[in-house]
Symmetry: C2
Subunit: 239 residues, 2 copies
DNA sequence: GCAAAAGTGTTACGCTTACACCCATGG
DNA sequence: CCATGGGTGTAAGCGTAACACTTTTGC
């Protein structure tokens, strides 16, 4: 990288600065429905209203740092899937101040979720098909995130981020059916998944959803990374 | 949208604001090679160095407004393809100031490009395979934009944004070969393209690249929009 | 023993790919 | 007349999609 050969001129200082926030669209899957984590604001403005989880970005941190900070504060989770969605910067988007928001979406394993924090922050899981009204442009952010999730899940194995690390094939299928709002043939789904050889069978069964029980699998991230670098494109069904 | 029921508290004012910039990764195609539009800075810091085209975001405009403003200033073009790439916000990314940059990539028709402005701003088209060193993290931005262009062009007809509105099939094929760094079989490429019925044949030929001449086509944006809404997925070749 | 979910193979079709020659024209 | 790029069809193989019955076990 080129090093700055001269000091920054007045130009830099004169330019107008802005408030910068991050807002997190946090998805979860309870085995049945796709859910969103929201919280009820305690402070004004909008006290009592539902909102995405967010924070202003401090000068001493990157936007990713800020997002990870609030995610940890509200869920107790670290090392979770987090990706930038979009910058929302309409001049009048926040009546309280000129503030741009960098929206990021996160995928979390509901099973790992730290429930103790839930009460403290008044967070709630809400089903995506019955969202409450959220503050500002947050409903728009959720709609955009959902569209992105659909796109991304077609060609990247991000669905596995929403399941427990050990999961069954029917569980995965239900998740995919939830994300894509369509059904899949169980035989073809299983066949295609196993043909990718990216899930490793475990000698254990999950018996919570049936008497017979269903074998557990684990996603092989290392193998996926390896194949990915060689040009392999993940996909579970034809578009 | 919920209206603010109460005035914003001191919290809003206390939060620290940041400099926010937009930087544009501007791609063009001259019929032969994929090019990037850069300019040689006249002012410090980094006077004389190559840089992406950008600006600080004013409080009175959205980031899209800001990007369109600089694109118009530097190229004389309006209504061009512009999409957000990523927010670059590492704390030490700009030694001159704490500044985050929202990178956007643009696709322009080199034929429409307003050359008169080129001299005024010292802009230059450079081939993507022989980029100069750019200021700050701009080389990283370009690499990321190129990757995004590849991804996006697989499933969205954005290649047409880089060609004149009337184009020939061999021209389009050369562009795709440039983007995807691979070759395509001319018969299969043409067959697949025409089978989508998204390009309308014109009764004119382009004779600049061969004696025989090659028929011109026009992309049918309206038809694409219509099909798109019904769930049609654009793709010119299997991944 | 029965209800409820898990697990298993085969076939038809469509899409993708590979491949070689004639056409039109300007010089 | 020849060099150059434009334009055309067919066949093989692969992946996708459709489809019905058996297995296991808790109650």
């Amino acid at each position: 990288m080129l090093q700055n050969p001269n000091p920054a001129p007045a130009y830099y200082q004169q330019a107008e600065t802005l408030l910068v926030a991050v807002d997190c669209i946090i998805f979860g899957f309870d085995g049945e429905k796709l859910k969103l984590l929201v919280f009820k604001r305690k402070l004004n403005p909008f006290a009592g209203a539902y909102s995405l989880i967010g924070s202003f970005v401090h000068p001493s941190e990157s936007t990713t740092d800020a997002a990870r900070r609030v995610l940890f504060d509200f869920t107790g989770l670290q090392d979770i899937f987090l990706e930038e969605l979009h910058v929302y910067s309409e001049v009048d988007r926040d009546p309280g101040a000129r503030c741009i928001s960098i929206a990021k979406y996160a995928l979390i394993r509901v099973t790992d979720y730290h429930k103790a924090l839930s009460d403290h922050y008044d967070t709630e899981w809400v089903a995506l098909d019955s969202l409450p009204e959220l503050v500002l442009d947050h409903n728009r952010m959720v709609a955009d995130a959902l569209q992105r999730l659909k796109q991304k899940a077609q060609f990247y194995p991000i669905g596995f981020e929403l399941l427990p690390k050990k999961f069954t094939i029917p569980m995965l299928q239900r998740l995919y059916e939830e994300i894509f709002e369509r059904s899949f043939d169980a035989r073809n789904f299983r066949k295609k998944l196993l043909s990718l050889t990216l899930v490793k069978p475990l000698p254990e069964k999950d018996r919570t959803t049936s008497k017979k029980g269903s074998f557990l699998y684990r996603f092989d991230y290392k193998k996926y990374e390896r194949l990915s670098k060689k040009g392999f494109q993940f996909s579970l069904f034809k578009i």
